[in-house]
């Protein structure tokens, strides 16, 4: 069983193709859409969690690349800027998945990108601008 979060970038010409349908029915991959911004005639972006048999997931990824979808890792989309962060913990109650947590011994705030679903609630909650997000996700 493989589970991974990726960002899919669609070129304009295929934004209307039912790509998730193909991933699910042709490759047996479970697709959990975390965030999507797709307008007809424009570039699209979708943040998804893919899960399934390792083979199925890699065939699914091959399919995406063949049809021109760029697949990127999620870690590039959002970053916790540790130098900017004051570890105040204001972000914590806004993070639905505990991707942002505080070590209650050291009291430093930690970020686990694996748990992040890119809801971006933390961006507004952070008063130190310590969460950096690629512009296109807005």
């Amino acid at each position: 069983m493989k589970r991974m979060k990726v960002v899919l970038n669609f070129p304009e010409d295929i934004v209307e193709d039912p790509i998730t349908y193909h991933l699910i029915t042709d490759f047996g991959v479970q697709v959990n859409i975390l965030r999507a911004s797709i307008d007809p005639g424009k570039q699209g972006i979708m943040v998804v969690e893919l899960s399934g048999e390792e083979n199925n997931v890699s065939h699914g990824l091959n399919y995406l690349e063949q049809i021109g979808v760029q697949v990127e890792s999620l870690a590039q989309e959002i970053r916790h800027l540790e130098d900017q962060c004051a570890s105040c913990t204001a972000c914590l109650p806004h993070c639905p998945t505990q991707a942002l947590e505080v070590d209650r011994q050291s009291w430093y705030v930690l970020f686990d990108p694996e748990k992040c679903i890119l809801c971006l609630s933390c961006v507004e909650a952070c008063i130190y601008r310590a969460i950096s997000v690629k512009e296109r996700l807005y």
């Binding site: 004051a86 105040c88 913990t89 204001a90 806004h94 507004e124 909650a125 130190y128």
Partner: protein
């Protein structure tokens, strides 16, 4: 057993002073008792790092060749307006000041508040230059009418923070009982008790460790954003006459202090401009106040723990803005707040803080090392802050 400030300073000079933080002293008093702790420990350091809106800076700007009278004219720094109602070359910029063109909360609510007075102060302390634009009406002794140039701290004769209200002794825990999210100075509060924010370092916070202001008062030397500053007055809204715990600590916001310190000695590590979405700008400052262990009563006060400090939970959707509804939903301890969730009306509510406990610890540790290394001496307070039974009240 009693000690004097002079005796403690002599120990600092000879390198024999014993210093602990307000967190470290807790175990010592617990294990050895207050009598022995008072004998063995000379100073306890406190610390806090949090947004404190009532902050700002005075500047005296060096005169150009043709002199100019800013008083009665105007001055902006990076387009942020400064107060120019003083003498020829003195201005004051407040942390919350915004440039005229900032959209604030008008068209794109909630506002973002990207740059303002707090950022000007932060930039200057970081060694950057800011653009001064000034206008004056011109006099015989001050003929110049316009000035525009980049200036840094080197272009000023004096630059000091003067914060009229810092280090609140306790603070409200903010929640939202309404069914809409609200943007406040206590952060974004989710509807129907979706979250709770607090803002105090609790057991490390300066005034929680000196509940009746025995050693923190006018003239107390402090660690202030990297500089050695002073308490110069009670802070605005200083409100000591509130209900207190048996240990003397207030159960609602109470004492405050006005602080002063030289910006040239400050560091961007200990001072940060911050933006509250939908509310505005403010400045996070680091303050560490040493408490001399003059007697056993003082050592008992500084050993107070988060479990023995309580804060009121207040609704910021209705009660805070209008005074209508329940004033206090309940009380919680700082230990509960720091656990990550509190119980309000039988609901588990996740908590977050605006006061950084990690940095409060760093401040207290740093001040401890300064004292141990003989780089920081204690002062005798020159006059006490208004006490808990002297009739000083504030209407907030």
């Amino acid at each position: 057993m009693t000690k004097t400030i002079e005796e403690i300073n002599a120990k600092i000079r000879s390198g024999t002073v014993v210093v602990l933080t307000a967190e470290e002293i807790i175990d010592v008093v617990h294990k050895k008792g207050s009598n022995r702790a008072a004998l063995e420990v000379d100073v306890v350091t406190t610390g806090t790092f949090a947004p404190m809106c009532s902050s700002g800076a005075f500047f005296n700007i060096k005169q150009p060749k043709d002199k100019m009278k800013l008083g009665g004219g105007f001055a902006t720094l990076n387009d942020v307006p400064a107060y120019a109602g003083l003498a020829a070359a003195d201005i004051y910029i407040g942390a919350t000041a915004l440039p005229e063109g900032d959209p604030r909360n008008s068209n794109d609510r909630p506002g973002k508040f990207r740059y303002g007075g707090a950022h000007v102060i932060e930039d200057l302390i970081a060694g950057k230059k800011v653009r001064l634009k000034a206008g004056a009406y011109g006099t015989d002794c001050y003929p110049r009418k316009n000035r525009e140039q980049l200036i840094g701290l080197d272009d000023m004769n004096d630059a000091f923070l003067f914060n009229p209200r810092n280090c609140y002794q306790n603070y409200n825990v903010a929640v939202n009982l309404s069914d809409k999210p609200i943007y406040t100075y206590m952060g974004k509060l989710k509807p129907k008790l979706g979250n709770a924010y607090y803002c105090s370092a609790g057991q490390l916070s300066p005034l929680f460790n000196d509940p009746y202001y025995r050693t923190i008062g006018i003239g107390t030397r402090i660690f202030f954003c990297g500089a050695q500053g002073y308490v110069v007055w009670h802070g605005t809204q200083h409100n000591p006459e509130v209900p207190r715990m048996k240990n003397g600590t207030p159960r609602s916001p109470a004492g405050t202090v006005a602080l002063i310190g030289d910006m040239r000695d400050m560091s961007p590590k200990w001072l940060r401009a911050v933006s509250f979405t939908g509310y505005g700008l403010t400045l996070s400052v680091a303050v560490g106040i040493p408490i001399p262990i003059l007697d056993e009563e003082i050592v008992r006060s500084v050993s107070v723990t988060d479990a023995e400090l309580k804060a009121p939970v207040v609704d910021y959707s209705k009660y805070y803005p209008t005074g209508e509804g329940e004033a206090k939903l309940c009380e919680v301890t700082y230990k509960e707040l720091k656990s990550g969730s509190i119980q309000i009306k039988d609901k588990d509510v996740p908590t977050g803080s605006f006061s950084s406990y990690a940095l409060a610890r760093e401040v207290a540790q740093h001040l401890k090392y300064l004292i141990q290394n003989g780089d920081f001496f204690l002062t005798q307070l020159q006059a006490p802050l208004p006490g808990a039974d002297e009739g000083k009240e504030a209407t907030i």
